[in-house]
Symmetry: C2
Subunit: 249 residues, 2 copies
DNA sequence: CGGCTGCTTGAACTTGTTCAACAGCGGTGG
DNA sequence: CCACCGCTGTTGAACAAGTTCAAGCAGCCG
């Protein structure tokens, strides 16, 4: 399995080799790279091709007139900007690379053809969108109700779980390329307070964060600290619910 | 146009009379009501029929283990819980009535048939989902970056604009049945602070809020106070972008 | 070497919270 | 009809969480 999108969708549907090849074909033709801190798409642009993050971390963000900036979601390898984004008139937010990023631009037609011809793939993409929406809701909860400590702990739990699904974790470790400024823009706090919160979590032995590698010595403890309940990630979804169009074999 | 969903989708596609009838049929069979403060669906339930709010206000919300509660979105008349919600294994959040609510439960099969047979309707529903996602992102921005005053001003602008799209405003007035506790759970603040913020907005002449009716004397001023830029609502979307499947006449 | 970016620390300050009390209003039951 | 209850809104005062401003340090890259 060398296609990261297929790898991620695999949990939603048993994909055939042809399905996987179809994804590969839709991606193959326009691979791009972006330097760290560069925008990939900007607010106000015409809605573009669908973007698939292949390697590196990116973020959707919005900027207020006075310069305040909020990262509204993280795009990790295997993540897609909405798969029917091209229906919109124009982008209402920007997507920027946080690290160097490799991404594929998937044009509209092949994607629509693929969805029309391969219902199980279409279904997997729709499920993926539902999970993306659930993540966005959970961020709303974090920003609205959780304290600084809980927010950071929750965020780390979420990132770890998401990376795990695309096999980008190693035991209890994963990459954590976000700067403290980035973490501030994600959690709606200042970088200064992020710094103090990280120190607190370190002091309690909940995290080790060194050289852009995050280690979680005791996952349950961190989950408790962040009140992290992973059910919103729908990791163990029924492979195929009974449906009129379900495949027979 | 007596179907509120058709009324809302109308801005995304020129719906034929048959389209409108199809929506009507999918809704007609199971109209329910919920008393104020009652749950319509609860977290952990099996993913249900799709719910369409016909009258009254509801909210999606999540509760933390210690009782803190965050309203993650408002469902106003014409709003739908995700149109392919039934793909999920179980609900990761609850939906509760804030006022007495009339809603329709739309079962899976008729909805899927409708989408398969009526591409322009399917497209309109997908666009609607994209706008719902954009609203969720904007709430993330509010909670992460906006001050109390800006949050409340922004929320009122958004609600007014959304109600306007389904013709539920009257000049510069609309209903505002949310209690100060509700507003607190929406904006991630305490009811006490909502109270003080409302007073501030009133004192400045930005809002009049009396007897559950909101009046906005100067809309531009309130938009400025909340840094409200409505483009994320995609109110003026191109009716039909060129597409291989676009109708010819 | 010099300059940039990211991390750390301290101290004063601001925003919003908490706790507590009370007022108004509508509905209910004696 | 009146007393009472529960819910919503209002107010004050003490408090806590997170911000702001400012300075300094370490590491890295050209």
């Amino acid at each position: 399995m060398h296609n990261i999108l297929a790898l991620k969708l695999n949990r939603f549907a048993t994909l055939s080799q042809e399905d996987i090849d179809a994804i590969g074909n839709a991606c193959r033709h326009s691979i791009h790279t972006a330097r760290a801190r560069r925008d990939i798409i900007r607010e106000g642009d015409a809605a573009p091709h669908v973007i698939l993050i292949i390697d590196g971390w990116a973020a959707r963000y919005k900027t207020l007139p006075d310069g305040r900036r909020q990262i509204v979601s993280l795009l990790l390898p295997g993540d897609l900007c909405d798969h029917d984004i091209f229906l919109l008139d124009e982008m209402d937010h920007s997507i920027g690379a946080l690290t160097p990023v490799t991404y594929a631009e998937m044009p509209r037609e092949p994607l629509e053809t693929m969805c029309r011809d391969r219902p199980s793939l279409a279904r997997a993409l729709r499920l993926d969108s539902l999970v993306v929406a659930a993540i966005q809701r959970e961020w709303t909860v974090s920003l609205g109700q959780r304290t600084a400590r809980e927010r950071v702990a929750h965020l780390f739990c979420e990132i770890f779980a998401r990376l795990e699904m695309v096999v980008l974790t190693d035991k209890n470790r994963c990459e954590m390329p976000l700067t403290q400024i980035d973490l501030g823009e994600v959690t709606g706090m200042t970088a200064v307070h992020i710094n103090r919160t990280l120190q607190e979590l370190r002091r309690e032995g909940l995290i080790v964060l060194d050289n852009r590698i995050l280690t979680i010595p005791d996952r349950r403890a961190l989950m408790r600290a962040g009140m992290f309940n992973p059910s919103y990630l729908h990791r163990h979804i029924a492979q195929q619910k009974p449906s009129p169009t379900a495949a027979l074999g």
